[in-house]
């Protein structure tokens, strides 16, 4: 997901408050509550309602309280804030940004691994270890099967790509041979 700078700033503000309010347990709880809010908004079609300028803010506040009972004060205030500033559409991006900050804090990296055939447990383990050493973080691997790469793996960690697939090597060979003649 592409995270815009606006969403990032909102999420980081809340994150900072979370660190001061108690650290990791608080952050985890808030993250779960944010995810819940996002799911509810999406599934009950609340986004258009919360964005509607014809509805008074007081009414929107009521709707939020009814939809999300028992969430922490700061998370509630956060939701009030983004509704009042008409930024509620960015909630999914803000959740993603919050998660990024969480992973950053915990030294976790999410790595997308695309292979032609499913990874064996042994391969997964070795990949985990090697990537962990390379990135100096603990790794969460998201696997995807893509037969078109023929063999090997394409590994994407944030902005860095490692193309160790057969298709990639064939492309590189193709370019190199073309350069000769």
């Amino acid at each position: 997901m592409q995270i815009g700078s606006l969403a990032r700033r909102y999420a980081r503000a809340l994150f900072g408050l979370g660190i001061e309010a108690g650290g990791d347990p608080v952050l985890d709880r808030w993250f779960e509550q944010l995810q819940r809010a996002g799911t509810i908004f999406r599934e009950t079609g609340l986004y258009p309602v919360l964005e509607n300028p014809g509805i008074q803010f007081e009414q929107k506040r009521q709707i939020l309280d009814n939809a999300l009972p028992g969430i922490d004060t700061f998370v509630r205030n956060f939701l009030y804030l983004i509704v009042s500033k008409n930024r509620v559409r960015l909630l999914d991006q803000m959740i993603a940004a919050f998660q990024t900050d969480l992973y950053e804090r915990r030294g976790i990296a999410v790595v997308d691994v695309r292979t032609a055939i499913p990874l064996t447990d042994d391969q997964r383990q070795r990949l985990n270890t090697r990537l962990g050493n390379y990135l100096k973080k603990s790794i969460i691997i998201r696997e995807e099967i893509d037969p078109s790469i023929v063999g090997g793996a394409v590994i994407l960690a944030g902005d860095k790509l490692i193309d160790a697939s057969v298709l990639g090597r064939l492309d590189a060979l193709h370019d190199q041979l073309l350069q000769l003649y």
């Binding site: 592409q2 700078s5 960690a157 944030g158 902005d159 990639g168 041979l177």
Partner: protein, 503 residues
């Protein structure tokens, strides 16, 4: 040298056998939006300014704007075939072009790829980045060796030296490109590699120019870099820098090169287009704020290097097109302040039959006499003076017989010099012949020739000199000055010609 198919096959076998693909991490991003020759990329967080990036279909781009969330990339090629969601890779290189002797005689595009249909560039290809810091003060040498354009008006009064930057400025169709072409033709046998960069020109005009150069055997020492009007603005923007990199290769290996930018007005317009699409704030005439830097960093790379650095040189002849003779417009004033002089071409003079349509009074070469051989300095000093006096009195020309003798003489001399300075296109003149004819005029030997016969006199006289007295011309060429013996010989030859020949 033909390449045998057996060689190709064995070479390819070797490549395949020993192919060691280095697997390494590259920076990637995703295309957010693409169009109008630019793309916005999300990601690419480690990319550097002006770094080369690659799109999935092989097209290259240059990272132009580095912003908080995204990277603005200008596409060095066609933007069709690139779509939203495509993955873009950073290459870790800045834009570079092939350089070296393999390029001489070829027509290439702004990325150095051949477009003349004569096959790929041969030989091990060296490349250079197109952007570079200009030579520093210590590495340079004073300009003192002439670059002969072969055009009398220029070589006599606005001489250009190797390593100088001289601007050719004027309205459309005043002869700017014609002067550039003649200069290229005149470099045959002078050990100067010429690079002609066409920026935003009509493809037909460029093709015609290449055909003309081939006709006069000038393509053997010329490289043509073409970013014609149909090319994307991004390629028009980098074309001059690509040509300059090619020129620098010769300069830094101890050779002399000449580069012609035709023209920098269209270059500024292409840069403005790309900058506005990238949302850089517009300034005067909607040009971006760094349009001066655009040209200054290009032209500062033309220099003469001292012996410790090879002694090579790169001479630059930028062209600027003015609108209605307005030299105080934004881009013209910028480039005038950067170059070491300017040559003004005016439509009034052109239509009055004075071609090349140089306005000698306003044109300047800040290197001046230092860029002339001594022989030329000996005759040309009088020339500028005579022409200056002539211009002052030109208004009185209509009064005909009502003038005193000195004024009459000055006017007569001036009209004859003016006739001599006219020159047909594609006929650059060697410097020894130039010295001979200007010597004849400034010493009064043409004063008794009717004005409308002066050009005929010139043609016949020079033919006479080459056929009957080639030793005199040779002496001028070798000594590079007019010694007393040469002067006597010249006087005698002129007298002989006037006695016998008809014109």
């Amino acid at each position: 040298m033909a390449i045998r198919s057996e060689d190709i096959i064995s070479n390819l076998r070797g490549q395949i056998e020993h192919f060691g693909a280095m697997v390494s991490a590259v920076d990637v991003g995703t295309v957010q939006e693409v169009g109008d020759g630019i793309a916005r990329i999300y990601g690419l967080s480690g990319v550097k300014a002006s770094e080369l990036v690659e799109f999935p279909n092989g097209t290259l781009g240059m990272a132009f704007n580095l912003e908080e969330d995204s990277v603005g990339v200008i596409i060095l090629g066609s933007y069709e075939g690139i779509k939203e969601g495509d993955q873009v890779r950073a290459t870790g290189r800045v834009v570079e072009v092939p350089v070296g002797d393999a390029l001489v005689g070829r027509v290439v595009n702004a990325l150095g790829q051949p477009i003349d249909g004569k096959g790929p560039l041969l030989g091990g290809m060296k490349t250079r980045p197109i952007e570079r810091v200009a030579p520093g003060v210590i590495t340079r040498e004073e300009v003192s060796v002439p670059l002969q354009t072969g055009i009398k008006a220029i070589d006599a009064m606005i001489p250009i030296g190797r390593g100088q930057r001289e601007l050719l400025i004027g309205d459309r169709s005043t002869g700017k490109t014609a002067i550039a072409t003649d200069t290229i033709i005149n470099q045959k046998g002078q050990d100067v590699i010429c690079i002609y960069v066409a920026i935003g020109q009509k493809a037909s005009k460029t093709a015609q120019l290449v055909a003309t150069l081939e006709q006069f055997g000038a393509m053997d020492h010329t490289i043509v870099v073409a970013a014609t009007a149909d090319e994307p603005a991004a390629l028009q923007y980098i074309a001059p820098y690509a040509g300059c990199a090619m020129g620098e290769e010769f300069m830094e290996t101890g050779r002399d090169a000449l580069i012609i930018y035709d023209d920098l007005s269209k270059h500024a317009i292409a840069y403005r287009e790309v900058s506005l699409l990238m949302r850089r704030p517009p300034g005067r005439e909607a040009f971006p704020g760094d349009v001066f830097y655009l040209h200054s960093r290009l032209l500062e790379r033309a220099a003469r290097l001292n012996k410790n650095y090879g002694g090579g040189s790169l001479t630059a002849l930028p062209l600027i097109e003015t609108q209605a003779n307005d030299v105080s417009a934004y881009i013209p004033t910028n480039v005038i302040s950067i170059t070491d002089g300017q040559i003004f071409l005016e439509p009034d003079l052109f239509y009055a039959g004075i071609r090349p349509a140089l306005n000698v009074g306003v044109s300047v070469s800040r290197v001046g006499g230092k860029a002339q051989i001594k022989a030329y300095r000996q005759v040309a000093g009088r020339l500028k003076l005579d022409m200056a006096q002539f211009r002052e009195l030109a208004a009185f020309a209509q009064f005909g017989s009502d003038l005193d003798k000195t004024t009459r003489a000055s006017l007569d001399r001036g009209t004859r010099i003016q006739e001599i300075l006219k020159q047909p296109q594609y006929e650059p003149m060697p410097v020894d012949q130039q010295v001979a004819i200007i010597y004849a005029v400034t010493n009064g030997y043409t004063d008794d020739v009717p004005v409308d016969r002066v050009r005929a006199f010139e043609t016949a006289f020079l033919r006479f000199m080459t056929q009957s007295h080639p030793d005199v011309l040779q002496a001028i060429r070798t000594d590079k000055q007019i010694t007393d013996t040469t002067q006597n010989a010249l006087n005698a030859a002129i007298a002989e010609f006037k006695r016998n020949a008809t014109y």
